[in-house]
Symmetry: C2
Subunit: 336 residues, 2 copies
């Protein structure tokens, strides 16, 4: 089932079979026909390893994901799905590499074993070893997320700073004066997780700009934490009338805590966030939120990566998106 077998059965040389398949040199119609017939009959496919060895590229990209121990959020899942999808459209395969935790052998294999033509890295920290490692290795890569100083890399990212700013302005426009930010988990923020820091910065700035009173808290990524966190918030700051959140996994808990506290949304209390559209729509009532365009970001990341693979010396590019807030059912005027 290799190219030699095909050549023998078609009565030609191995190189002719290769040329018939790649079209890189002319082959007579009759010969080509004969070769293709044999290939079809035997179900032959070129051996990927042999081809990769000779061509020096694998037609595979790596996708570096957080380790399985940390559950993927709905948003992250959206990135994975869209990257896989976009790669499939470009006839690329995707090799998964959990990084962080104990799985750094996997990351090393992917980076250094010439297994992939390029890498997409998710969940980038403000200071990120993996980015440094990739830069040193010279392997083309694109970040979904960016480091503190991303000048030397290509990336796509959500503009959390602007996004949360918009959320705050939206609430301020509705008359809210006392608002809270429910951020991602304290561990993530402490570890230098970019979205956490940027959301905080955007919140602080917008609150100052509008002369509001703001309180920011961290919250683990699940509904229980969201509930506990909101209950504490309401107890310590009864004057609050609105919450902005970047923690989609906690949102259901926020709702629940408000309901138990007798605050009806959006009549007594407003919530606005950043979340996957699917997620926002499935909450009750549907969450007013900036819808994360995961499909667009993932596809763009693949595009950028293909560009870097084609020309590793080209200038770096990036995409920073700030999708508009979709008005759903969780924000309303502040009660005076």
């Amino acid at each position: 089932m290799n190219i030699g077998e095909i050549a023998k059965r078609a009565g030609v040389s191995r190189s002719t079979v290769s040329y018939a398949l790649t079209g890189r040199r002319p082959v007579s119609p009759e010969t080509k026909q004969r070769i293709l017939a044999v290939i079809d009959e035997l179900g032959y496919r070129p051996n990927a390893a042999a081809r990769a060895l000779k061509e020096g590229r694998t037609r595979t990209i790596g996708l570096v994901i957080p380790p399985a121990s940390t559950r993927l959020t709905d948003m992250q899942l959206g990135f994975v799905a869209s990257v896989v999808d976009a790669a499939a459209r470009a006839d690329l395969d995707v090799l998964l590499s959990p990084s962080g935790g104990e799985h750094d052998r996997s990351f090393e294999r992917v980076v250094t074993g010439q297994r992939v033509d390029g890498v997409i890295v998710m969940e980038i920290r403000l200071e990120d070893d993996r980015v440094a490692r990739l830069m040193a290795s010279g392997l083309p890569f694109v970040g979904i997320g960016r480091t503190r100083d991303p000048a030397g890399m290509s990336w796509v990212d959500l503009d959390y700073e602007t996004l949360i700013g918009r959320c705050v302005h939206h609430l301020a426009d509705l008359g809210h004066r006392d608002i809270a930010l429910v951020n991602r988990s304290a561990e993530l923020v402490a570890a230098g997780y970019g979205p956490g820091h940027r959301a905080r910065a955007g919140f602080d700035r917008a609150v100052a700009d509008r002369g509001l009173r703001g309180v920011a808290v961290c919250c683990a990524d699940d509904a229980q934490a969201g509930q506990a966190c909101t209950e504490r918030l309401l107890a310590e700051h009864p004057e609050l009338t609105a919450i902005a959140t970047v923690n989609e996994a906690a949102a259901a808990g926020v709702y629940h805590a408000l309901a138990r506290a007798g605050r009806e949304v959006p009549r007594d209390f407003s919530i606005v966030g950043v979340a996957a559209r699917h997620w926002a729509e499935n909450l009750h009532p549907p969450l007013t939120a900036a819808d994360v365009p995961a499909v667009e970001l993932g596809a763009h990341a693949v595009d950028l990566l293909l560009g870097r693979i084609a020309d590793p010396a080209a200038a770096h590019r990036h995409l920073l998106v700030a999708p508009p807030i979709s008005l759903r059912a969780t924000t309303g005027p502040a009660r005076s």
Copy 2:
């Protein structure tokens, strides 16, 4: 940066470098030391394609997932994560292949291009082309899920029939006489999706065994559909006092419809299901459910696959699990 370069700098032949690395022939301590020093200095890693070509195996497994267009459920995500994790522990890489839809080129590449040593296939249908294709190809594979007649394959699966039977018995024990099954989507069931069919069969049997009145409906995989579906159910069958469900994504909608209908859970109405633990615990109130042991199933699938790769002629094995129902807060005695 190839083995020849290492050999030259260490002053030995290429084969000696290879033996020093693999240990398949003795190498003197001094020589080995020298070689390792050079390797360390240059950061050399064997080229994966060359090794795969010569050895005839890739140290990579394929994971065939549903196409991105169909959102992964929390449970499916759990399988993916656990497979990736288990594979990483065995120093295997995972190649993702979305199958179905328009991405069958990806599936073909994986199966036929000798890119992987074996494949794990998720979301198997009662009649499944991919399984037939894999059997014909001779590539080792393991199903997460199984066909109607899975004798010729290795697989792991959840015993939905038993599981739903247990749910029904649990409800019957609590005195419920009129119960409904909220199944997966009509499209999935029509397409021969095993869990849908087996859940239905288990429901029907248990209902008959206990002399209950049961009604089974299909429901799309999201909260909105769950709500609509439950509202219809309550309108058409006001006598219902309990729901059993295998549709974790719809559960939040079921809750909401019940709340809007003024049925308090578990006082007026009971719900029991099959879901990821994480999911069940994050609902309010926490769902009484059989917790899907995704980690165990995924790890076992990888084990089975490694077994088949090691000995493709060995007898097929499988694992059918029916985890016990975790009592949480959504079932109570029927009000008489």
